[in-house]
Symmetry: C2
Subunit: 321 residues, 2 copies
């Protein structure tokens, strides 16, 4: 198995690479090579098989052609311009999120090798005046350009798969929390930082009310699901290659209570509550009554509790003091 | 009102041009100019205002920039590579249906004039294993590349409208019948030809069973709806600019009985019944339990009876002997 992770330098890409390195196998066969492609050189991971880094700008079809080759068996397409960033810079969002996906699909089509393609869509495709509950077969009504570009990606993945150009599978990721590292430009950034920064002994700002509900998944469980996603047989997916990845809905209060249950009440006191209208405008268009029936039936899983998410952060990601 | 019809040489484009010429007004103001753009020079129509023809290939952004100008008030984007054609020639479908729509939207964005854009989507965006009934807020699950490309267009129309780049409104057209003229490369072509050819005294082939159900609209009523579509206020459309255009569901038998009711039983005897697996494979993925609640609430209409569709053909389109 020759595996390519596009967006291999990101939080999920790096954790996925570590997981593949630990596992050594995918789709029932040994991994023979792993390439981490990103706009900058991504950090490598230790593995029993060769791991290399590649610079790739998916907005550029030529650059895509250099990293997807005839012997690429599995492609993870994780690279994206995230929500608030794509809202500010419309061209960047279109170039990466829509045309980037198109370039990857076209490269696969040109090769004629029908690689497995795992695409990360987002719950940002839901929104507006659509009745709850939401899930695999809900009308995509995104309220951001990021969500719109991901919705386009879903449609293209399905059509290129139907035509046999790729063996695609697309999953709408819940918001990943607790996301380690620096904040990115996602409007959802606070949903990690209000926990991560206090757990690291720093203050954080919460821009929404304590009863704000949202749909979450831990990075650890997300990566487990992405590995399962590649392992699925095309026959199990049927004609629609797009589905919701399992997550769970919690309020901000529940996140904070879970943190307090695991580490005591000190960190919660480091959260400052300050309304941020720009962020609230974006995230209030997002949906939380979301269900992942198809993916759950295929063996993908949500977290058991948000206490688990806190523990995963402490075990996997908390920087040494 | 300076109006541009892209696809102005097509059946619907020509009838729309005739209707606008007869009406002389749109969006409450006199029409000052009408441009019919198409890949070939479209026939002109007589009007009290200037009417001109323009060659335009929407696959080419430069060509689009030549026909959409600062003083364009209303754009009808009707041009498309139809279903069976896009299924055979994937590149042509992507170039016209997806990139053509993108080029029109990008040109509007570059101008900064927020023109009204009426886009014709299709019931081909529905399909597969999605529960009936279908309508405005159903999950798009197209079973053809044509349907996929139209579904992408819908998402882009919504996002470009949300951003204020265009004042878009997109309508999923029912199958237009009785469509005059020569057959095109739509898989739905027989749904007109089994009536049109016999009404013209010629034989025709029906490739499906008499109980095959489908969702139809006459060309005359379609054009009336497209005029209303441009006249709608943006405020009435809300955040989702995409909706089903009203049609009605009839079986093949009902179409033929309607023809017989209007003109007697001679023409029905000119229909030959011959299964065509390629056509049947495409059209059996199409849906017919379709409802157009939003558009009906906004005043758009379906036909009263299929007898009307037959009469409209005789009045508007039947070639003189």
């Amino acid at each position: 198995m020759n595996i390519l992770i596009i967006g291999g330098g990101g939080v999920v890409g790096q954790k996925l690479a570590q997981s593949l390195a630990a596992e050594g196998r995918l789709r029932g066969r040994p991994i023979t090579r792993l390439t981490l492609a990103d706009i900058n050189d991504p950090p490598l991971v230790d593995a029993s098989f060769p791991v290399s880094a590649a610079r790739c700008d998916i907005a550029d079809a030529q650059s895509v052609a250099q990293v997807i080759t005839e012997d690429t068996d599995v492609i993870y397409l994780l690279a994206a311009i995230v929500s608030a960033h794509a809202e500010e810079d419309f061209d960047a969002g279109m170039a990466i999120n829509m045309f980037g996906t198109y370039h990857v699909l076209e490269r696969c089509r040109a090769l004629g090798t029908t690689p497995v393609l795992v695409f990360t869509s987002s719950i940002a495709i839901y929104g507006g005046d659509i009745p709850d509950p939401l899930g695999d077969h809900s009308y995509p009504n995104p309220q951001t350009s990021y969500g719109g570009q991901k919705a386009v990606g879903e449609i293209l993945i399905n059509d290129y798969s139907r035509k046999g150009f790729v063996d695609g599978r697309a999953f709408r990721l819940p918001t990943i929390s607790i996301r380690p590292g620096k904040p990115n430009r996602a409007a959802s950034g606070f949903m990690s930082s209000i926990l991560r920064e206090p757990l690291n002994g720093q203050t954080a700002v919460c821009p929404v009310e304590p009863d704000f509900l949202h749909y979450y998944l831990s990075p650890r469980r997300c990566v487990e699901n992405l590995v399962k996603a590649a392992n699925l047989d095309a026959a199990d997916l049927g004609g629609n290659r797009v589905m919701q990845m399992p997550g769970r809905t919690w309020s901000i209060s529940q996140l904070i209570d879970a943190m307090t249950a695991v580490v005591g009440d000190g960190p919660a006191k480091l959260i400052k509550w300050e309304a941020q209208p720009d962020i609230k405008r974006i995230v209030s268009g997002w949906k939380w009554d979301i269900h992942a029936e198809r993916a759950e039936a295929l063996g993908l899983k949500s977290d058991e509790s948000f206490e688990d998410n806190v523990r995963y952060y402490l075990e996997d990601d908390k920087p040494a003091v």
